[in-house]
Symmetry: C2
Subunit: 328 residues, 2 copies
């Protein structure tokens, strides 16, 4: 029997949990251990018997883990952790602070080149699968416009902004594409659209006792950066209703390219994700790219990589022969 | 200035024409010549000044063309031409006889390994971009079902079958996805669907004078392999109407994967093409992969390849740095 790819998870929140679920679905992988900054005994993994360790012990697993999947945040965790861990492991991260990607790539590359590991950064669906489709669509249709729409999806940042308001007990915010804008793109009009012309925002808010709904609604709708530029709807609901109907973390969206070929032939390209759980899907993408990192390392590749450097062949558990026979 | 990638086109029908249009849109390529089995003087290229030669002269262009794009048919042209031309050039073809792909790959690989060229076979949208999405979706969502829907699109084979009937002067056939089947997949029901349960067929037929519409309709609807298993609609129209409304070659379709993660979370993946012209879009895909073949050859790669072996990095005219900065 072929040996399984040995996976480690560094950081265990919603994303780490999604990765644990995803590894279980892959027949060519096994989860070796979860590493956390918290007391390992306090970490509630999906499988109760998943080995858990302090992140301080991670380096001693160097020879027991083929790929370390980093599940920390982009703000403070990954800029430190990915370069640090690339010294010991092939790594996957979901670094998504757009403006700092080149800098993060260079920092990781320096370490991974020296340690001869493969480190794929900024993996997930956006950045990730959406990025792939933006490049693919533009390579095939150089004359045209590309659009990214997000939603319907729960936005963590906007939900936090609502919850910080005085008088708000709890709340969530969904980003939704504006259907009229989507249809304009599909019709080939190639409109120029700002983010707020493509999306609307819908908030579900639980008030503290005695809080004034009108004032809170006004505060949300006029909040700069987050809501003031958007068509925003605010619904007030009970804590029970929030728990009942708004506890999952759906997301998704689409990448569209409206292009022209020949004299004036309209060509539409569309990639669409409708995700019941954002962290579970993102975890599934990270796990697929862990396989790619493993296969690329076996072939002698090294250094920092992105989804743009990975072939479908390396991403799949099928052999090249099987792929040609069954998927072309 | 960077030197342009020098492209040749072998075979000049609708697809060759699409390739000529597509090369013009790419800033890093130039079309060197078109090769045809016909008398070169009789070939009507898009640009009147495109150099045209007999296919018999093709080998002497060995040092003047970086990538030869083969635009012949899969039945008889490509099985001979691709192995023959891989001796002289990096090549791209759109070989789509599904059952013979492994055999075609081996024949091309043997020549391209020896001549040290890169030959990417079975490029287009299906096989091609659809194949990529089937592999990508399954790698990320191993638990689930993948569906391919075609249409709305003009089917050449089915149109030919109609036109062969006695009493039929002209006609076209469109394949359409059955919307109810698409919705079932989107709802996550993972139904088992045969090709005829996913598609319906719509025919527009011009009768010869004196032909009996009822008999022709019956002959179409009961034609084995082509129509008898399908929900088929037949419209009779005038020759003028056919020319006016049914002269373009639209096509498209979608690849969907309905997957499950975690305990029972529904995740939907969808790739959608809506093409105003099938040959122009296919030509655009071939041209993008010509760039990839060129870049792979420069890096020392060789042999037969498929879309599964190509990175986005090699497909794009942008540098890795630009891609990371602007597309992730």
């Amino acid at each position: 029997m072929k040996e399984k790819i040995r996976i480690g998870i560094c950081g265990y929140g919603n994303l780490g949990r999604g990765v644990e679920y995803a590894v279980k679905q892959q027949t060519d992988m096994e989860l070796v251990a979860v590493f956390s900054r918290r007391d390992p005994a306090s970490v509630q993994t999906v499988a109760p018997d998943t080995p858990k360790f302090s992140i301080d012990e991670i380096a001693r697993f160097q020879d027991n883990i083929d790929v370390m999947i980093l599940c920390g945040g982009s703000a403070t965790d990954l800029p430190k952790q990915t370069p640090m861990l690339a010294a010991y492991f092939n790594t996957i991260d979901s670094f998504d602070t757009h403006a700092r990607i080149p800098e993060h790539f260079d920092a990781v590359d320096k370490v991974a080149q020296a340690s001869e590991h493969v480190s794929i950064i900024s993996v997930g669906w956006d950045p990730g699968l959406f990025s792939i489709n933006r490049v693919l669509a533009e390579a095939v249709l150089p004359q045209g416009s590309t659009y990214t729409f997000w939603g319907k999806g729960l936005s963590q940042g906007h939900s936090d902004a609502i919850r910080r308001l005085e008088g708000v007990k709890n709340g969530v915010q969904y980003t939704l594409p504006i259907e009229e804008a989507v249809e304009k793109v599909r019709r080939g009009e190639q409109p120029e659209l700002s983010t707020s012309e493509k999306h609307q925002r819908e908030c579900f808010v639980v008030l503290e006792e005695g809080a004034d709904a009108l004032i809170i609604e006004q505060q949300i709708k006029t909040m700069p950066d987050y809501f003031s530029d958007y068509d925003t709807t605010v619904h007030f609901i009970s804590e029970e209703e929030l728990k009942e109907n708004h506890s999952s973390m759906p997301h998704g969206g689409m990448v569209m390219r409206s292009g022209v070929t020949g004299e004036a032939t309209q060509q539409n390209f569309e990639f669409n994700l409708n995700l019941g759980s954002n962290p579970e899907f993102t975890g599934s993408v990270l796990v697929a790219y862990a396989r790619a990192a493993y296969k690329m390392k076996l072939k002698g590749d090294k250094g920092a990589k992105t989804v743009f450097d990975v072939t479908l062949n390396d991403l799949s558990h099928q052999s090249s022969e099987e792929l040609r026979k069954n998927y072309l």
